[in-house]
Amino acid sequence: MSWALVGIGVLGAPLLGGLLFGIDRKITARLQGRKGPPIVQPFYDVIKLLAKDSTYTNRRQVFYLYSHLLWMLVALVILLTRQDFLVFVFALTFSEVSLALAGFATKSPYSHVGSNRELLQILASEPVLVFMAFALYLATGSFLTGGVFLIDEPLLFSYPLLFLAVLLVLTILMRKSPFDISSSAHAHQEIVRGISTEFSGKYLALLEIAHWVELIIILIIVFLFWVKPWWAGVLLALGAYFLELLIDNTYARLKLGTMVRTTWAWGFGLSLVNILYFTL
């Protein structure tokens, strides 16, 4: 891969992610029996936000918000260039930590609670991703993401349980019900909009764009479970995406404690059992 391709990836991912978000809103609307917004709605939103005036409460908030987007992109680049998956998880964590710090930087009770919840979401989701790195190593003999392209059998076949665990944490990463507790697409939250309560204008737009990138990252993670032929992986990713939408629309939002308990018991358990089974 050359720099140019990486550049295309970095620019293209948000666009694709935005489009997928538009489709998400359309499908969600249809699941609720509504017509829903046009598919390009996320782009309208972000362009509008970019043109809107913005306020900030202090400089560090702005700094960490940029850092959130930036490290999300770094994580994307690591993934796109098929590098070390463990490092990818670290970069993703840095991105989420930055977001939490951006929320903490304002002395707003809503952001504060949101940031704390974000941290617990990291706590809930990161282990499974790290396990995935180990699974990659065990299956391919390398921590590099590129390894999955070298083996013939899809990762899914050796790690069905881990795949389930990944699906479980995808709900968290995609901020979908039942685990959309730190900030959700839907406004009706007990903590208003959580971390993003204090962002406005272009800063909110930055956050939205970061979410788009995050979505692409998430889909790539699913894709890795079945890379050969490539369309199988794409189908798998889209299937998982649709499944998340269904779950989002049929589950009530669960509570913080339930989330941590569920992901640690099931996510951890399933991954570990699968990895142990694989090594034996």
Binding site: T57, N58, V74, V87, A105, K107, P109, H112
Partner: protein, 661 residues
């Protein structure tokens, strides 16, 4: 410079400076002598680094053996005296047992140690010496200013003299410890660090500090006893020649006798106590009552590092044995448990202490994994952890003096009041768990190496996520400011000593991380090369030696084109990320053009004007928004600590069981 001259600088100079400060209590003398000593130590470290090659330097001073023995007995006698005076039966018992053991070995077994080299200086010692000398010296400079501000009620000058006596002595003893090869010498330095830490923890002479000093003495005496037991087993079975660290290490699998293995286990347990592994962590937490430079010294470069240093050094000896796996699991468990406890604490210094315990656990786990990658990761962790922790402790010390509290909650909004400290602490915290800093690199290597033990993988994964939780939580509290707080609050200015010491360390941390390949190739790999030559990499073929400068910053590798089979830490890419993180906000953020907005308080803000963060509450009364961190006390409380300790103790018993069977 000759070796003798070097030893004069490394061992005798601190002793002299310590005594000088105790006897002549003049601030000018104190400052001058300590700064000179610091510079001399740093210079000697550089000299040592250039001087020691792949072959260890062996130095023998048989004439000093008797002196060492007498000093040993003196220390033990003193500890017994303390135990009697403070009516602590366990300390008395432990000290008397050690005394009896030592006397029995010397008089009953009469080992012939004339063949045993007193000191051996190899590359690992060089790494340790660099850590102790450089970081220790910087802490000394910091302490000069800190102790000026420290509240010593009566006879301030006398107390300062006493403080610097033990403080500087500590450095010298630590230098001895990392060179010692003769087990009796090692034991002496070991006990001397115990003594120094006892004196320093009790420095404030309050009830609390005296109690905690006693606790440290008690728990470390267990380690001392373990060491005596190990020496006894070795000398009893193999004769005097076995009382040599290098002999123990090099004998390796050749002497697979039970008593050798048990001796090995005892030595490791001795290391556990010093390294404050669960269930011995309490002395380190109690030590937090001491003045901050002491904590910084204990955590970063001396006491606890002595513990892991010993375990690390012994790693080749137990390589491939069940003991090794047991150590790995034990370390992993400590890593997880300490991280968990750190989440529930709101005392900044205790959080740092738990984090130290956790990281030492990780180092121990690496030693237990015992592959080239893992052991190199352990060395790297020792180096970077020392830098970060020294920085963090010193930062917290400054904050504590200004805020008047160690409670994390009281540090809220520090970013506005002490922006410089915020920067320093942020670097320290980022250094502990975020890419591309060294600790994370080492953690990455450790995790990739841990693939050998799936159970260990689980422990490390759980522990490392918890790490992110408590660090971010703390940093978040400090960042939290209300709009316009910066304009309203006067930033606190910083004395030169602080700027020098903290600035050096912060800059050093960034530079060391940037130059990771140099650190790996120049320091870390050579220090393990003797036992883990790159040719026989561990099970995971991941080869740290392949990661040269060229590799890290090679665009081809950043782009993932080069085929590196096992794993790769794309340092260059991560640094580009870090750089952009600093540049982009500066480029796009125009604070003048934008409005500072009040925070959202559901429409009931009263914070225009003199009442920041107030909202109209019930009956229109102004109520203040207050924020509190999450500590999960419902789940993590004393009972959790107790059960974790029990599990740790059980693991340790099992470890010995594994060895004995």
């Amino acid at each position: 410079m000759t070796w003798n001259q070097f030893l004069l600088v490394a061992l005798a100079l601190p002793l002299v400076v310590a005594l000088l400060n105790y006897l002549v209590r003049l601030p000018q003398i104190r400052k001058g002598s300590i700064i000179v000593m610091a510079l001399a130590l740093i210079a000697s470290a550089v000299w040592l680094h250039t001087r020691v090659g792949d072959n260890a330097v062996v130095l023998s001073f048989p004439w000093a053996d008797l002196t060492i023995l007498i000093l040993d007995l003196a220390i033990l006698a003193y500890i017994t005296y303390v135990g009697i005076e403070r009516r602590h039966p366990y300390i008395i018992a432990l000290a008397v047992l050690q005394l009896a053991g030592l006397l029995y070995i010397e008089l009953g077994l009469r080992p012939d140690v004339s063949e045993v080299p007193s000191l051996v200086i190899d590359r690992l010692s060089v790494v340790m010496y660099l850590v102790v000398a450089v970081i220790g010296s910087i802490i000394c400079v910091y302490a000069l200013q800190y102790m000026e501000e420290h509240d010593d009620r009566a006879h301030p000058e006398e107390r300062k003299g006493r403080f610097f006596l033990w403080f500087v002595l500590f450095l010298g003893i630590m230098n001895g410890l990392i060179f010692a090869n003769n087990l009796f010498w090692l034991y002496f330095f070991w006990e001397a660090t115990t003594l120094c830490s006892f004196q320093l923890i009790g420095h404030d002479d309050t009830r609390e500090s005296r109690d905690n000093a006693l606790l440290a003495l008690f728990l470390n005496s267990i380690g001392g006893l373990a060491m005596i037991a190990a020496i006894f087993l070795l000398v009893n079975t193999f004769g005097g020649a076995a009382a040599s660290l290098s002999a123990v290490v090099n004998s390796g699998l050749a002497v697979l006798s039970t008593s050798f293995l048990i001796a090995l286990a005892f030595l490791v347990i001795g290391g556990f106590t010093k390294a404050a592994q669960l269930p011995f962590q309490n002395w380190l937490l109690g030590a937090m009552v001491a003045p901050t430079p002491v904590s910084a010294l204990l955590h970063s470069s001396t006491m606890v590092k002595a513990g892991v240093y010993l375990i690390l050094r012994l790693a080749p000896a137990y390589s491939g044995l069940p003991l090794s796996t047991a150590i790995a699991i034990f370390g992993g468990f400590t890593f997880l448990a300490a991280s968990l406890l750190a989440v529930a604490d709101d005392n900044a210094k205790r959080v740092l202490a738990y984090s130290t315990v956790a990281n030492l656990g990780l180092i121990v786990a690496c030693c237990g994994i015992n592959t080239s990658l893992a052991v190199n990761a352990a060395v790297l962790l020792i180096v970077f952890h020392a830098v970060c922790k020294a920085l963090l402790f010193m930062g917290v010390g400054v904050i504590e003096h200004n805020v008047g509290s160690r409670n994390i909650e009281n540090m809220e909004g520090l970013a506005a009041r002490m922006p410089a400290m915020m920067l320093v602490v942020s670097i320290g915290v980022f250094g502990m768990f975020l890419p591309p800093f060294g600790v994370l690199f080492a953690k990455w290597a450790a995790m990739e190496a841990s693939i050998r033990e799936p159970l260990l993988v689980a422990l490390l994964v759980a522990g490392s996520t918890l790490t992110a939780l408590f660090w971010t939580k703390w940093l978040g509290r400090m960042l939290s400011t209300y709009p316009r707080e910066e304009e309203e609050v006067q930033p606190v200015s910083m004395p030169g000593y602080y700027v020098t010491s903290l600035g050096t360390l912060a800059l050093g941390l960034v530079l060391l991380s940037l130059g990771l390949p140099a650190v790996v190739n120049g320091l870390v790999l050579p220090s393990t090369m003797t036992w883990y030559p790159p040719a026989i990499q561990g099970m995971s073929g991941l080869n740290l030696a392949a990661f040269s400068w060229a590799n890290y910053y090679n665009p081809e590798i950043i782009l993932g084109n080069a085929v590196v089979p096992e794993g790769l830490f794309p340092l260059g890419l991560l640094f580009i990320g870090l750089l952009l993180m600093l540049v982009i906000p500066m480029a796009f953020f125009e604070p003048e053009k934008e409005r500072v907005g009040d925070i959202y308080l559901s429409g009931e803000n009263l914070d225009e004007g003199p009442l920041p963060l107030y909202f109209a509450g019930a009956m229109e009364s102004p109520s203040k928004v207050s924020l509190g961190g999450y500590y999960f006390r419902g789940v993590l409380n004393d009972r959790t600590v107790l059960s974790l300790n029990i599990v740790a103790a059980a693991l340790m018993v099992m470890m010995i069981g594994v060895v004995a069977s």
